[in-house]
């Protein structure tokens, strides 16, 4: 698929088929994530792939934002100690979060290209996920991505391209 087609076709999917995703596809998704840019080439993220259905159930119980029953989860974490060592406060508090977002988008676009639905989730209890996945304190889960073969194909919400894109100078359309 062409990149623009993938970007426009991806939807947040919250209903999934009961069908497993092959391990090699999940690894490819994470590979797409690690090819995302990072601030100062920090590469301080850690990616956890979860496929065990019992573990997914438990993570769901501490993650109100995970909807439906996904076949897999990718938890994108940040090694906050390493991020601080490499980039100071800016690296730990801002760049690391932007890096997670960029890796997450790569993962979701690659998933769409593999015909897999995805949904980014921030509504979860970080300490709970750390405990359930035996993640040490300094590695903090920042974003969950739920994954599965889609059982729905939602319509895209409208985009306001004309109201948010300007050439050369900002021109207010509504006085703001």
């Amino acid at each position: 698929m062409r990149v623009f087609e993938v970007i426009k076709g991806r939807r947040s999917i919250r209903k999934f088929e009961k069908r497993l995703i092959e391990k090699k596809i999940l690894q490819k998704l994470v590979e797409a994530g690690v090819w995302a840019p990072t601030g100062g080439n920090g590469q301080t993220w850690v990616f956890m792939i979860v496929t065990d259905s019992d573990r997914i159930r438990k993570i769901k119980a501490v993650s109100p934002g995970v909807l439906g029953i996904p076949s897999a989860l990718i938890v994108i974490c940040q090694d906050r100690e390493l991020a601080y060592k490499k980039g100071g406060e800016l690296g730990r508090d801002i760049l690391s979060i932007m890096d997670v977002a960029m890796a997450g988008q790569n993962i979701m676009l690659q998933a769409y290209d593999e015909k897999i639905g995805s949904c980014p989730v921030l509504s979860f209890y970080k300490k709970g996920v750390q405990t359930l996945l035996n993640i040490p304190d300094w590695i903090v889960p920042e974003l969950l991505i739920s994954l599965g073969y889609p059982a729905e194909f939602p319509k895209p919400p409208k985009r306001k391209f004309g109201e948010v894109c300007f050439f050369e100078e900002y021109k207010s359309a509504n006085g703001r």
Binding site: K60, V62, P64, Y125, P157
Partner: protein
């Protein structure tokens, strides 16, 4: 925790308590969404454990068909909640 019902109820309680913890930093409309979603989950657990009620089952169908409107259309989401709340009140009155 071996018992299936006990496990399902425990996970629902986790969902509700963690929602309570997280909601103060989340989008305001996620509050009503989590509550209505929890109601749906509870009805589902009851059904799975053979505690079936036709009225509640219909309520769950309505919830599942409408709950994601919170992501796209706040007015429609609130209107669905209004309709559902009125149905619940009518049932409450009817049952004496």
């Amino acid at each position: 925790m071996e018992d299936k019902l006990e496990k399902e109820i425990f996970e629902l309680i986790c969902y509700m308590l963690i929602s309570a913890r997280n909601l103060d930093q989340e989008t305001k409309m996620y509050g009503p969404f989590r509550l209505v979603d929890a109601a749906s989950k509870l009805i589902e657990i009851l059904e799975k454990n053979e505690i079936y009620d036709e009225f509640l089952s219909q309520a769950r169908t309505i919830i599942e068909a409408n709950k994601y409107k919170v992501m796209t259309d706040k007015e429609e989401f609130l209107s669905f909640l209004d309709d559902l709340a009125l149905k619940m009140v009518a049932k409450l009155k009817e049952d004496g």
